[in-house]
């Protein structure tokens, strides 16, 4: 099986084009200036989810594997960070590192189990393993079950800067987001990324060229999981809360939606997709169950008529990858 996935756009791994540089500056500029007019906690939430979606997109856009259980990395890191900050008194950067590392370890375990399968089977096994993680989190004493881990202290960054005010927390989250984003960009536009692309386009040929395909896919999977964990750990410090919602399979579905709306396999797509979905959830939250309906409609419309997603369409119109 070659593992080709016709229909899911393949991103081109070339050097940063001028369009991409402009887009990056626009994005960074937005996040730097926006807190003046937009509620900073909302923006921080957005950045965390954007990073999560970018990490997810690394797997689907560049390796061609649809993981339907990515919430497990996001959520486990959230719990690990919350626990280490609250119970062990870690400073925020160590707590987030711990969370990220936990997600990485989980990613390795899951990856070892899942990577040999392809397509639908891969999606199903990630979904099933994510369910196991969910039930583990439901019952393990340290997660607080339905209550979650509450009142997580933000602590002092490097032991010096008090992060409890949004004014201090915001630059920290911004740095993490931009750092993570650039890291993903770098991964994609590297020799490693080129091999991934080769595997994506014709796996058997890559094998015949001597590449250990499974090792590459596993590494990509672990990277994706780790970065999703970075997003999850940061989020639990922003909201000072880690809960079961973060490991539930609907969260996995949401991150798929964000990437789909923004544009699978594009660099900036997940960020835009996350922005759209989170904003929609915020404004429609008062309407309760309508959010689910609207999300479903967006899914259906995107799959039927709008497969390239927002950034994908823009990129297609400009004939440049974004």
């Amino acid at each position: 099986m070659t593992g080709n996935a016709p229909g899911i756009p393949i991103a081109r791994a070339t050097g940063a084009t001028r369009h991409q540089q402009i887009a990056f500056l626009v994005m960074a500029g937005f996040f730097i200036l926006a807190p003046v007019v937009i509620y900073p906690v909302f923006l921080m939430k957005l950045m965390c989810f954007a990073l999560f979606a970018c990490a997810f997109n690394l797997l689907i856009g560049y390796v061609g594997l649809l993981s339907f259980g990515h919430a497990m990395f996001f959520g486990i890191a959230g719990y690990a960070t919350a626990h280490s900050a609250k119970v062990w008194g870690f400073t925020p950067e160590l707590a987030i590192l711990f969370g990220t590392a936990s997600a990485g370890v989980l990613g390795l375990l899951v990856g070892l189990l899942a990577i040999r399968r392809l397509g639908i089977y891969f999606a199903m096994i990630t979904l099933a393993l994510a369910q196991m993680v969910f039930f583990f989190c439901l019952q393990a004493p340290f997660t607080g079950g339905e209550d979650g881990i509450q009142a997580v202290p933000r602590g002092r960054l490097f032991g010096v800067f008090d992060l409890s005010e949004a004014k201090a927390m915001y630059p920290f989250v911004l740095a993490i987001f931009l750092g993570g984003f650039l890291l993903i960009y770098r991964i994609v536009h590297s020799p490693f990324g080129q091999v991934l692309k080769a595997i994506r386009e014709n796996e058997s040929r890559a094998v015949s060229l001597g590449y250990d395909v499974d090792r590459y896919k596993l590494l990509a999977f672990v990277l994706s999981a780790t970065l999703a964990g970075l997003a999850g750990g940061t989020k639990s410090l922003v909201f000072q809360l880690a809960s079961l919602t973060d490991v539930h399979w609907t969260m996995s579905g949401e991150v798929v939606l964000m990437s789909l709306v923004g544009g699978l396999g594009t660099i900036f797509g997940p960020v835009v997709g996350a922005a759209v979905i989170i904003t929609m959830q915020n404004y429609l939250a008062q309407l309760g169950a309508w959010v689910t309906v609207v999300q479903g409609i967006v899914f259906v419309v995107c799959v039927l008529a709008f497969r390239r997603g927002i950034i994908g369409e823009i990129g297609h119109a400009l004939k440049k990858p974004l």
Partner: protein, 403 residues
């Protein structure tokens, strides 16, 4: 049929921290936020009915005539602690909400409790069960109205053992709330000379209780304690009827049952169920009058004790503001503790130093279909537990506010 009520504007505003406490009503307006589960498990227990109760309280208080401007807004926490705390954060930081009411669901309530304390606002909870709200998580900014797990466990457990139900088997919802309920009820049963023959934990939101009920049946315990709530309780009772448990001689004790649950089950399935509540619409003329007004505006659905708690809580809150002329959260809660309460629903009562509102509790039994004479005529009052005995003694809670 639910009503979707208008809720807050999510505006774009500067997120500057709240200013220092002022000796007047902040921005000239008292903004009350009713946060509940508007669309799922607890929507009938709290939900839009709670918003209605709050509005009725504002009207009955006569705010307009006293020159006080009061606004009621509402939001859905969807039973998720992160949604609830995000909304609360936005309410406090951006929308200038002064106090939050209702919040069924202990996980959300604990999160809001923490947040309210940080921001110096006020939180009057009438929906959640966790006795930690007045125990180790107690706060000078929180009042816990209506009920809690200790009261339920003690009220129901003690009363049932005293009437002969001395061997128990627990069917427990496998999360913090269920465990707390089981633990407190077991303690009450043992204290009164009863025995616990076994327990089984089921996952939250279980559809099928057949295997757990089978275990309960084979234990031959006289009483099967349902340490769960909402849909799980309804399913357990329904399926217990199917398996002939009550016909086989065992009785069911619901640890947390509301009027709306009984209505959903129907009297033929729910008859004989024994549990504790702190409000029933048919207690006296005042409660009846209020309930009829409520039902008329609520599609004919009668109020649960949670709704009553919201109404009474808002009334007392507004009275406190009227007295001290400021809506600073910490000060208002302090005033609420200083003044005895008096409302048509719970009668006279007090709020203790740990934030616990004290009022009598009632052990009720669900009527048989033949005994019910009108809509929502569901309960027989078996016993009244006086206020001082109904709730956990002040010293035992582990609340740091209690010296």
């Amino acid at each position: 049929m639910k009503r979707k009520l208008i809720s807050t504007l999510v505006g774009a505003a500067l997120a500057v921290g709240a200013g220092a406490a002022s000796a007047q009503i902040s921005d000239g307006m008292i903004k009350i936020g009713v946060m509940s589960d508007m669309s799922s498990l607890y929507a009938d227990i709290g939900g839009p009915g709670s918003t209605l109760a709050a509005k009725m309280a504002v009207e009955d208080f006569g705010a307009a005539k006293k020159g006080m401007k009061v606004e009621v807004v509402s939001a859905d926490h969807q039973n998720k602690a992160d949604v609830g705390s995000s909304v609360a954060r936005q309410w406090y930081d951006v929308d200038k909400v002064d106090a939050i009411f209702d919040v069924p669901n202990s996980a959300v309530a604990l999160a809001i409790n923490q947040l309210t304390r940080e921001k110096g606002k006020a939180f009057i909870d009438s929906g959640a069960a966790s006795s930690d709200l007045t125990g180790k998580a107690c706060s000078p900014n929180t009042v816990h109205w209506t009920y809690d797990t200790w009261m339920l466990a003690n009220g129901t457990g003690t009363a049932i053992v005293k009437t002969g139900g001395d061997s128990w088997f627990f069917l427990t919802s496998d999360y913090a709330f269920g465990h707390a309920l089981e633990r407190d009820t077991e303690a009450a049963v043992l204290k009164n000379g009863g025995k616990v023959l076994g327990k089984v934990r089921h996952p939250l939101n279980t559809q099928d209780f057949s295997s757990f009920l089978l275990q309960a049946q084979s234990s031959k315990a006289k009483v099967i304690g349902l340490a769960n709530a909402g849909g799980d309780t309804i399913n357990s009772v329904k399926q217990a009827a199917e398996f002939g448990i009550v016909k086989g001689g065992q009785s069911l004790a619901g640890m947390l049952v509301f009027l709306s649950d009984v209505h959903g089950l129907g009297l033929d399935k729910a008859q004989g169920l024994v549990f504790t509540e702190t409000f029933y619409w048919d207690l006296n003329d005042q409660t009846r009058a209020w309930a009829k007004r409520f039902a008329a505006a609520n599609n004919g659905k009668y109020p649960t004790m949670v709704h009553a708690g919201v109404y009474a809580g808002v009334l007392h809150y507004l009275k406190a503001i009227e007295a001290i002329k400021t809506d600073d959260g910490t000060k208002v809660i302090e005033q609420m503790k200083k003044t005895p309460t008096d409302d048509p629903l719970f009668g006279k009562g007090t709020i203790r130093a740990d934030g616990r509102k004290i009022h009598p509790a009632y052990l009720v039994e669900v009527k048989k279909p033949s005994e019910s004479k009108g809509p929502y005529d569901y309960y027989k009052i078996r016993a009244t537990i006086p206020a001082e005995q109904a709730f956990r003694p002040l010293a035992e809670g582990g609340c740091p506010l209690v010296k």
